[in-house]
Amino acid sequence: MTKAKWMATFIALLVMATGAVQAQTAYKIGYLPSTVGQALTQAWRSGIEKTVKAQPNVTLQALDAQMKAEIQVTMMDDFINQGYNVIILQPIDAAALTASVKKAEGKGIHVITLNTDTILPHAACVTMDDTGAGYLVGETIGKSLNGKGNVAILQSPPGAQAGVEREKGFRAALGKLYPNIKIVGAQNAAWNKDKAIEIMNSFLQVNKELDAVFAVNDNMAEGAMIAAESAGRLGQIKIWGFNGQKSTLALIEQGKITGTAYTNAYSQGATAAKYALDLLSGAKKKGAKTEVIVVPPFAATKDTVAQIKAEDRW
């Protein structure tokens, strides 16, 4: 009798212990942006870190894909082989990363994509509305030019989907609403400030009348600003960027850059991380289709930039 009692107590303890262990299961989240060297991807990371920090049983590891799809695929394989539970991925290219995302999902690893959706379904995609925001910029520039003038575009590298979507949105707005605005040049400045200075200089030399420039990210907008300023034509040219990083917002306040399509990257990262934690705790179930969460853009100009709070600047 006493023996049976002891046994029962022992088994009860064992069950409790395993229960406790189960509650403490360690989870691993991998963060794999296109590159770690940009304000945007760093802001995402701090958003993710802040959300994950509250969970002691979740560890976060970031890797740098160095802007190369081949390297990103290798790193995806690595997360998969190491048995990570969730991967937060900013695909460098939708088609190139689809196979990896499929492989991960096939092994029961949830993939949450940032900004670029891959072709086959996965857990979720937390995205800025690239096309929509590009459209918004196009609309705003068109209105401020009263529907006519010369516009140039600083492009992303060919095949970089996020940049291409932004440019498509921008061109769609001009084509539809302001057909009299002429796009006089579009060149690849590789997301990059120095390259943007070089290309903006050639735009300025070729086009004696240039009214506005749309750079598909803020780094390039800052480059365009430097070139226009040293040519003494900053006053006549409206410069728009994209993303809304801290340095660009400051330049907008100074009136040197006209505007940017701002997205709160902190909250975007946090949203992705929250989704990941919900998937792990079972609060959210994976659907048959990718759940797309759109973070709305905000046109930050000199008049509206004050609405962006200091803690939301990245």
Partner: protein, 334 residues
């Protein structure tokens, strides 16, 4: 045992030591899945590195390998998107294209006596541009990366048992090339051309033909890699391979083939490629910040090369000393 054999053993020893350290640091390193991925990575660099080893043996350099990968993957993707031709027709065309580019490189180097670096750098630029022009575009003229669904083509990215096909091809190609270099006359010609081109020419070796052949082989290897790469990623991108030259060069140099020509072999390159792939794979398992990772990789490479060179110096000095001693002894004997 010869000095070069011992150097190789040191490298293998280091390879194993780092492997053991990594598997202690993170148990997921020593899983079949991970090791197979590691070998797959190594093979993708390694196939190009085999071709590149021959180039280095002739004291040349080929900067166009990355761009050859880009252009051949674009050729395949155009066939896939716009024609219904089966893979066994367009893959040989792509491989032939790789050889043709190598022929052009070799032709300019031998017939116009131009420096290899300039010729291949120029073809690199031209091919990278052509790859963008050849890329599949959407209706608005933006580059569109097509998701490949051709089953025959995708089979190149599959595995036989747990081993990726690319790994098998890599080792077979390594074996054949090593055999070619060491056991055939044409192979000996490659060494002779690199060690002393004038002497080689005077002794009746057609060095121009040897050089052109070597560049064609390098182009072929790059084209072959592009097919495995596209099959693995299920797409082709116009920037594929561009920038991968550095990994290839590093692998070959770690494997003990110097820039000066006349020396080197494929097994060294195989070990060098495995080494680089091991470090790059292992670094991801250590939980380091991505800012630190490239520094650690660079540091390990420096340590390995320093050890290697130090041993070579040491062995040469010892050989010289023992030769001197022998000489003295024989003098005393007289």
């Amino acid at each position: 045992m010869s000095v070069s054999a011992i150097r190789r053993l040191i490298l293998i020893g280091l390879l194993i030591a780092i492997g053991i350290a990594l598997s202690i640091a993170n148990p997921s390193f020593l899983t079949v899945d991970n090791l197979m991925t590691l070998l797959q990575e190594a093979s993708l660099t390694g196939i190009v590195a085999i071709g590149f080893t021959l180039i280095l043996i002739t004291a040349g350099i080929d900067m166009s390998i990355g761009a050859v990968i880009a252009i051949t993957s674009m050729i395949c993707i155009n066939f896939i998107s716009y024609t219904q031709l089966p893979a066994y027709i367009y893959i040989p065309i792509a491989l032939a294209m790789g050889c043709a580019i190598g022929w052009v490189n070799g032709f300019f180097i031998t017939h116009f006596k131009l420096p290899e670096f300039i010729v291949t750098l120029a073809t690199r630029g031209i091919l990278a541009g052509l790859a963008l022009i050849a890329a599949v575009k959407d209706s608005q003229g933006f580059v569109k990366n097509v998701f490949i669904q051709d089953e025959v083509f995708l089979a190149f990215g599959e595995t036989v048992g747990p081993v990726y096909i690319v790994t098998i091809v890599f080792f077979v190609l390594a074996f054949c090339t090593q055999f070619f270099l060491k056991r055939t006359r044409a192979g000996t010609n490659v060494y002779a051309t690199g060690a002393n081109p004038t002497a080689a020419r005077l002794s009746g070796i057609n060095t121009d033909r040897t050089l052109i052949g070597v560049y064609m082989f390098s182009g072929f290897c790059a084209a072959l890699t592009s097919i495995f790469l596209s099959a693995r990623m299920m797409t082709a991108m116009p920037e594929f391979g561009i920038g991968s030259e550095m990994d290839v060069i590093a692998s070959v140099i770690i494997g003990g083939t110097p820039f000066t020509g006349g020396v080197g072999d494929i097994w060294g390159t195989v070990i060098g490629t495995l080494f680089l792939a091991l470090i790059k794979n292992g670094i991801l398992k250590l939980g380091l910040s991505p800012y630190i990772q490239p520094i650690v990789i660079g540091g390990i490479i420096v340590v390995v090369v320093v050890l290697d060179v130090w041993y070579k110096d040491f062995a040469e000095k010892r050989a010289a000393r023992s030769a001197r001693q022998k000489q003295m002894q024989s003098k005393e004997g007289v």
